[in-house]
């Protein structure tokens, strides 16, 4: 996935829209017998691994599901406390799924307002008058692009560091925002945008969500078809006249959805 998430922050620093890509994060599900050789602790309403890294389960991963049923914070789906449940030898063998914890909506709100404050600090630190503020924040795993409109709304996109064309994406999101959120007479300015307003709308034949997240592999460069020809993967070339995401494999002549 090239785009990880989109945040829209209003003038006061409040988050009014947020969208995450659905790329599966690193998750590991294992069956355990008593006693559990991982040390679990409760932190921030979540049960995290404190010690005992093995097999894809790392320190900091949270308990996501027990026996296939998603946990609800520190309680299991049945309402029992997770730590208590896992301390009882009668419940074993148990299958637990660990993974990187997702951000809750409160945490996202907090992060958005913190970014808003950092943005303001960034503008003030500038030696020249009239700075544009933070435009790009780069790390090794993602790049954060921010575009502030003249009215003070900020559009923030987290994307793959190698992904190009985010500037035009930000402008496009601004256009879509002005079209579908603002022109709704019942939408109050600076208030959270309901996801239905965005999902249901067509923008020249595409909806916002797929346009952002369904990045066909050919968009990032030549891709390999899954067919084998002569025990070797062949390069598939895209038929440019076709509508994505379908492409014709030159070797096996089959429609590939990638």
């Amino acid at each position: 996935m090239a785009i990880f998430s989109v945040y829209v922050v209003n003038k006061a620093g409040g988050l009014i829209y947020q969208l995450d890509s659905y790329a599966p994060r690193a998750e590991a599900e294992k069956t355990f017998s008593y006693p559990l050789d991982l040390l679990l602790k409760l932190h921030d309403e979540r049960v995290l691994v404190a010690f005992g890294q093995r097999d894809g389960i790392r320190v900091g991963h949270a308990v996501l599901a027990i026996n296939g049923m998603d946990v609800n914070g520190k309680y299991t789906a049945d309402g029992k406390e997770v730590l208590e449940y896992l301390g009882n030898p009668a419940n074993y063998p148990v299958s637990i799924r660990f993974g990187r914890p997702r951000l809750t909506s409160n945490e996202k709100l907090m992060l958005a307002s913190m970014f808003h404050s950092l943005f303001a600090i960034g503008s003030q630190l500038s030696p020249e008058q009239g700075s544009s503020g933070i435009e790009v924040l780069e790390t090794d795993t993602f790049k954060l692009h921010c575009f502030q409109t003249l009215t003070g709304i900020k559009f923030v996109v987290l994307a793959d560091p190698r992904q190009a064309g985010i500037d035009s994406l930000l402008r496009k999101i601004y256009e879509i925002y002005s079209d579908f959120a603002l022109k709704n007479p019942f939408y109050s300015l600076e208030m959270p945008i309901s996801p239905m307003q965005v999902k249901g709308h067509q923008v020249g034949g595409d909806t916002l969500e797929p346009a952002l997240f369904i990045q066909p592999s050919w968009a990032l460069g030549p891709s390999w078809c899954r067919c084998f020809v002569g025990r070797r993967r062949q390069l598939c070339w895209l038929h440019r006249s076709l509508q994505p995401p379908r492409r014709l494999c030159s070797s096996c002549s089959a429609w590939q959805w990638s």
Partner: protein, 181 residues
């Protein structure tokens, strides 16, 4: 590419008459609802303000204008880009005050009053296009500029041209950041 990388948004065209007649019906209904001209003018301005706060984002998104550095630049953009984009007309700009805070837009053609012969009797101080004043005021407010927008001359009232006067006021934001002792 099967899809162009950047496509201009399609403007859905509607019949101009429908728009002009809708606006006329709106003003006529307001006249029926309120007896005083000042009330009608006030509500038209308020409605325009609500429209302006939203329309400015659409304008900024589609026109890609840069940050302006002076009031005259702003007025030029309003006249040449905004009016052209939304009403299809290009009013001319005049600067009234030497301290560069008062400007006026002179409209020689106003599509909104196409079907209006004259103001009804007893409605001599009605500003028929006051919605436009509200839109400009609301739009400027969203980019943190306080302005007073009013009709200085109106063809419907017997003047030769229609003139909208825009006066930029001192920015109200400065008060917010003063510390309370």
């Amino acid at each position: 590419m099967s899809r162009p990388a950047h496509r201009r948004p399609e403007y859905h065209k509607i019949n101009k008459d429908l728009f002009v007649l809708t606006y006329g019906a709106l003003v006529a209904q307001l006249c029926k609802d309120y007896e005083k001209d000042e009330d009608v003018n006030k509500y038209l301005d308020k409605m325009g303000h609500g429209i302006g706060t939203r329309l400015v984002e659409d304008f900024l998104a589609r026109s890609c204008v840069r940050r302006c550095h002076s009031y005259s630049e702003i007025i030029d953009i309003i006249a040449q880009v905004a009016f052209k984009m939304y009403l299809g007309i290009t009013p001319s700009v005049a600067c009234n005050n030497s301290s560069r805070n008062e400007f006026s837009l002179i409209l020689d053609k106003n599509p909104l009053v196409e079907f209006v012969e004259e103001l009804p009797a007893g409605r001599t101080s009605l500003c028929y296009c006051n919605l436009l004043c509200g839109i400009i005021r609301g739009a400027l407010e969203m980019v943190h500029l306080d302005a007073d927008v009013a009709f200085l001359q109106d063809r419907l009232k017997g003047d030769s041209v229609t003139e909208i006067g825009i006066t930029f006021l001192k920015k109200p934001d400065e008060k917010k950041y003063r510390r309370k002792k």
